[in-house]
Every structure is written in structure tokens, then in C-alpha cells.
């Protein structure tokens, strides 16, 4: 249970932190809108990822699922950072 909890909590949190901020880098004129989306959509997504990890049949599967989400979100942010860069 602890493995699933930490796997879901951490990967969901990374998703919540990186995806809306990456979109904000792509669309700097809509940062306020992205914060709004982060509150309304990405908080339930965080809980959704946690639920997905809890549904795993083993700790290994939970960490695998968590790693997938973490890599996707991290990669997306770094693509945004190195292609668009920070807003001036």
C-alpha cells in the first residue's frame, strides 16, 4: 500500500506541476487561464493517477505506471523549456 501511495502521489504531483507549466511556456498569453485549468482539471487528474496506481496488482506495476506518467510530464516540460524557453 505504501508503494502505491508514494508512486501515485509523486507521479501525480509531477504531472500537476509540469504539464500546466509546460503549456504556459507554449502559450505565455494564457498563463492565467492555465492556472485556472490546473486548479479545475489537473487536481482531479492528480487523484486519477493515484487511483490508477492503487488499481495496480503489485508495487512494481504501480511504480511502472508512475514512472510512465513522470517521464511523460517531465519530458513535455523540458521540450517546452528548450524549444520555447521562459517568458521574457
Amino acid at each position: 500500500m505504501w508503494h502505491k501511495t508514494f508512486a501515485g502521489l509523486i507521479s501525480g504531483l509531477l504531472f500537476l506541476l509540469f504539464i500546466p507549466t509546460a503549456f504556459s511556456l507554449f502559450f505565455p498569453a494564457f498563463i492565467a487561464f492555465m492556472i485556472m485549468i490546473a486548479i479545475v482539471v489537473f487536481i482531479p487528474v492528480w487523484a486519477g493517477i493515484m487511483t490508477y496506481c492503487y488499481a495496480a496488482t503489485s508495487a512494481k506495476q504501480a511504480w511502472l505506471r508512475a514512472t510512465t506518467f513522470s517521464i511523460i510530464s517531465g519530458l513535455f516540460y523540458f521540450i517546452a523549456y528548450f524549444t520555447v524557453g521562459l517568458p521574457q
Partner: protein
């Protein structure tokens, strides 16, 4: 969904529910009662000296002048918040912090007589129940409680999602199913019925709980990953700006203009009145006052007006929907408080809150009785887990009831800010010891629910007797009756819960043995 996934989700649902049940129970119970916070505040003072709002009171400007004359060393970048007197809370309240000679800050919360401007004695600050319940609701009255409640809210969201997935195929088909023959079925059906009915409500509360308590996550992510640590830029973008960059002129503040700004502001949004003023750069000529108008009958109407006191005609006006972040935050906040729907919606929210308390209690009981059937389970560890679970769920009801009783019966001179938290803990300890002594979790719940019902009925009976016997009473009778009615509703809820649990067939040792053998 395959059986294995369903099994994992059911396991997660019950374990997570058990772990956060204590915190969730406190948050829901105290939150439900906090809908009537101002009424409770008025109820607390009812039998004391005359606290009703006098006809002729000092204006906010006069009150500001009194604070200026006291020469507090308030830093220029700090603000003074002045809350105006109301019928429920008939005194001026001032909140600010001063800078001491060693550089430390000292917080002040002062109460003033609205008629004379004299600072009220400490006894008048003793009315702590309403604030204490609200504090328990937002941070459990413990260090780092805000963040803990935030994490609990995330887990609550997971419990909601897993509950939906477990029950998905039966969500509508078995909505009206309520089997009374077996205890397990009755618990489960009741749990599912209330869980499905209150789904939009619980989802909204879980979401807003995360938003209020873990907003630091958004500050950190957007502040550092988007704005490179420029928090001021983030504040500007999200609309959380206050006039803190005030250049001091070292000339006296035009305090007389405050009444004019309030008069002007009160005409800007129909249905809304200014109830507090935030003064930035307090005491200086360049001070600015921020006034906020909230139309509580609407979820989108909020106007923030910023006036320079030097020249109050140069007002800046911002509507909440001008900024998407402010708009979202405000709408979710209004949904959380439910004031836009008036007293009717607040009562619906209150009943749904009690429904959530039932969800927690019945969920715990399902888990505990299922564990009790398992013969392999160590009886000592089960007794300990049961006692802890019960003290944090049903014990919370006892603790809150004790706080109400103490507020009514303990002498007014008692420092309740210190007393109530101890009493709350004492209620939990009592519940824990009782649960350890009795061992049968259902019996414990029934007995403690009846005890809570008696406690919640004590002070309405006392108040009624005092009024009938012609005792001296001063405060608002409507608020007194209102809070006593709410207390009787909680009492009725506890009695109904106890009655239902008592009349469900308890499995005998023979039945337990049969279940174990079948396994």
C-alpha cells in the same frame, strides 16, 4: 473492469478511508457547523452582559483615528484590517502586526466597543467556540494542519474515484436497494446510497479542499517553472495583488476620508455592503484602503475597490471575473461556502455534511466488523485499531459536543482559547478509553452516539428553561434558537444513527465461525 483491479480498488478504498477518517470527520463536522459561524458567535454571548449592537456607533474613520492615536509601530508594507460591527458580532475588530525593537513581529487582534471606542476587556475575547470550530475545519488546530488537510483532500478525491469505479455498474441500478436482513448489507447499502447521493457535493469539497490548502503548489510550480522565481509577476498574473509598495511620505494619514470611501463603495454593487476595510501604509499620507464588495446571493459578483486616502476620487475598481484565476477561485469559494443559495442551501449543505459523517462512521464500521470476523487477526491489535478509529470518528462528535456544553456552562472568566483545545482532546481520549474497555465496535458506536445526542440536547434544554423561568437574557434570541435548533438536529442525527445500528442483527459467534469455516 476485471476482478483483480476491483479487488485492489476496494482494498485501497477501505484502507485510505480508514486512515483519513479521523481528519475527515473533524473537517466535515466542524465545517458543517461553521456554516452557522456568526450565529454560533452570537449564541456564545447570549447569557452574558448586553452585547447587542447599539443604535449610535462610531464610524470606521473614528475607529481608525483611535488606533492611530495609540501609536502602534505598524510597518508601512503591512496592513491593518478593520472589521465592522454587526448584530451577530457587535464590536469593532482590528487585526495587524507591529515591528518590535529586535525586529520581530507581534500580532494584534483587538476588540473595541462600537459606542465608546474603548478596548474591550479580555473576557469579551473569550468567545472562542465559533473560531475554534472553524480553525479545526481548516487546519485541525495542529502545526502544518493546512497542508495535512490538503493531502487528506487529495486522498478523499482518490476515495471518491475508487468508490465510483467499484460501484460503477450498480450506480443507478441498485440506487434504491436497501437490504435490512443482514447487518453487512444494510451498512453497505446505506453507505452506497449516501455516497452516490452526495457525490457532486463531496467532489466539490475535495477539489476546493486541495485548492485552499495546497495553493502553495501552484505558487511554487508557476512561480519557479514559468516566472523564474518572480513571485510578484505571478501575483500580478493571477490577480492576487495588494498595494504593499507604498512610498512613505511621513505625513499624517487622511483618516477622515475612510467614511467617504465606504459610502462610495456601498453604491457600486447592488446587494452588497462593505463589511471590512484593509488599510495599507497605515498612518501615512499615502495610505491606501482596499474595500471588497461581495454579493453573497451570486457566485460571480465581487468588486474590489482600492482608494488612495489622500485623494479618494482616484479609485481603482476590479471585478472578480476580470481575471480567470480570481474568477475560478471566487466561484469555487462561493460553492464551498454556499452562501449564494441563502439559508436553504446552507441547510442542504449542512445535511450533506452530516451525510458525509455517516459515510465515515458506516465505512469504518464495515471495515471493523469485517476484520472482527477474521479469526487470524490478532485480537489485541484489532482492539487498538478499533479504539483509535472509533475515537477519531465518533469521538469527534463527543469532543465537539463537549466544547458546546463547556462554552455554555463554564464561567465567562475562563480563558476559552486555552481551555477548548484541551477539552476537545479530552473528548477523544475518553472515547478511546471507552472503546478499549468495551471492545465491541458497534456497541461503542451506539453508546457514544447516544452520549453525544444527550450532550447536544443539554444546552438547548437549559436555554429554554432559562427563558421560560424568566432569567436575564440579552443577546439575539433568533441566533440562540437557530443554533439550538442545529444542535438538536445533530442530536437527532446521533440518535437515528444509534437506533439504526442497534437494531441491525449482530452476528453471533456461531455465525462468525461459519463465515470463517466457509473461507
Amino acid at each position: 473492469m476485471n476482478k483483480q483491479t476491483l479487488k485492489q480498488l476496494t482494498s485501497a478504498h477501505s484502507w485510505l478511508g480508514l486512515i483519513i477518517s479521523g481528519a475527515l470527520m473533524i473537517v466535515f463536522l466542524c465545517g458543517s457547523l461553521s456554516f452557522f459561524r456568526s450565529n454560533i458567535y452570537s449564541w456564545e454571548q447570549y447569557h452574558q452582559q448586553d452585547k447587542s449592537l447599539p443604535e449610535n456607533i462610531l464610524s470606521p474613520s473614528d475607529m481608525t483615528k483611535i488606533i492611530i492615536d495609540r501609536n502602534y509601530k505598524i510597518p508601512i508594507d503591512h496592513r491593518v484590517m478593520l472589521i465592522f460591527p454587526t448584530n451577530e458580532s457587535p464590536q469593532y475588530q482590528a487585526f495587524f502586526s507591529t515591528e518590535e525593537t529586535d525586529g520581530s513581529h507581534k500580532r494584534y487582534r483587538l476588540y473595541f466597543d462600537p459606542e465608546t471606542g474603548n478596548e474591550l476587556n479580555k473576557a469579551s475575547q473569550n468567545y472562542y467556540l465559533a473560531d475554534f470550530l472553524y480553525k479545526l475545519h481548516i487546519d485541525l488546530n495542529i502545526p502544518a494542519g493546512t497542508e495535512i488537510v490538503g493531502i487528506v483532500s487529495v486522498i478523499f478525491l482518490v476515495i471518491i474515484f475508487s468508490g465510483i469505479l467499484i460501484h460503477l455498474r450498480k450506480l443507478i441500478k441498485y440506487f434504491y436497494q436497501y437490504r435490512l436482513t443482514k447487518a453487512k448489507d444494510t451498512y453497505l447499502d446505506g453507505h452506497n446510497l449516501i455516497g452516490v447521493t452526495s457525490l457532486p457535493y463531496t467532489f466539490m469539497y475535495a477539489l476546493t479542499g486541495v485548492m485552499f490548502n495546497l495553493s502553495i503548489l501552484f505558487q511554487a510550480s508557476f512561480g519557479y517553472l514559468v516566472f523564474q522565481g518572480d513571485i510578484d509577476a505571478l501575483s500580478n498574473t493571477s490577480g492576487f495583488v495588494a498595494p504593499t509598495n507604498i512610498e512613505p511620505s511621513h505625513e499624517p494619514m487622511n483618516w477622515q476620508a475612510l467614511d467617504k470611501t465606504i459610502k462610495h463603495a456601498n453604491q457600486q454593487l447592488p446587494g452588497a455592503k462593505v463589511y471590512l476595510a484593509k488599510i495599507f501604509g497605515f498612518g501615512d499620507e499615502n495610505a491606501q484602503v482596499e474595500l471588497r464588495l461581495v454579493d453573497t446571493s451570486s457566485i460571480t459578483e465581487r468588486l474590489t475597490l482600492t482608494y488612495p486616502l489622500k485623494n479618494y476620487q482616484n479609485v481603482q475598481s476590479k471585478h472578480v471575473t476580470d481575471n480567470p484565476v480570481q474568477g475560478t477561485y471566487h466561484i469555487l469559494k462561493q460553492l464551498h461556502y454556499g452562501s449564494f443559495g441563502g439559508i436553504t442551501l446552507q441547510f442542504i449543505y449542512f445535511f450533506l455534511g452530516l451525510g458525509c459523517c455517516y459515510l465515515i462512521l458506516s465505512g469504518n464500521l464495515i471495515w471493523l466488523e469485517k476484520r472482527a470476523l477474521n479469526r487470524k487477526q490478532s485480537q489485541r491489535s484489532l482492539a487498538l485499531v478499533s479504539a483509535m478509529t472509533l475515537c477519531l470518528s465518533i469521538g469527534t462528535l463527543i469532543s465537539v459536543a463537549l466544547c458546546f456544553v463547556a462554552t455554555r456552562f463554564v464561567p465567562d472568566t475562563f480563558a476559552r482559547t486555552e481551555f477548548l483545545p484541551y477539552l476537545f482532546s479530552a473528548g477523544l481520549i475518553f472515547s478511546f478509553i471507552h472503546a478499549l474497555a468495551i471492545k465491541n465496535s458497534r456497541k461503542v458506536m451506539v453508546q457514544q452516539a447516544v452520549f453525544t445526542a444527550v450532550l447536544f440536547a443539554t444546552f438547548p434544554i437549559y436555554d429554554t428553561l432559562i427563558i421560560i423561568l424568566g432569567g436575564t437574557t440579552h443577546g439575539s434570541l433568533i441566533n440562540l434558537m437557530f443554533v439550538n435548533f442545529v444542535s438538536l438536529l445533530v442530536s437527532a442525527f446521533c440518535l437515528a444513527f444509534a437506533y439504526q445500528k442497534r437494531h441491525i442483527q449482530i452476528p453471533t459467534d456461531k455465525q462468525k465461525l461459519e463465515v470463517t469455516t466457509e473461507k
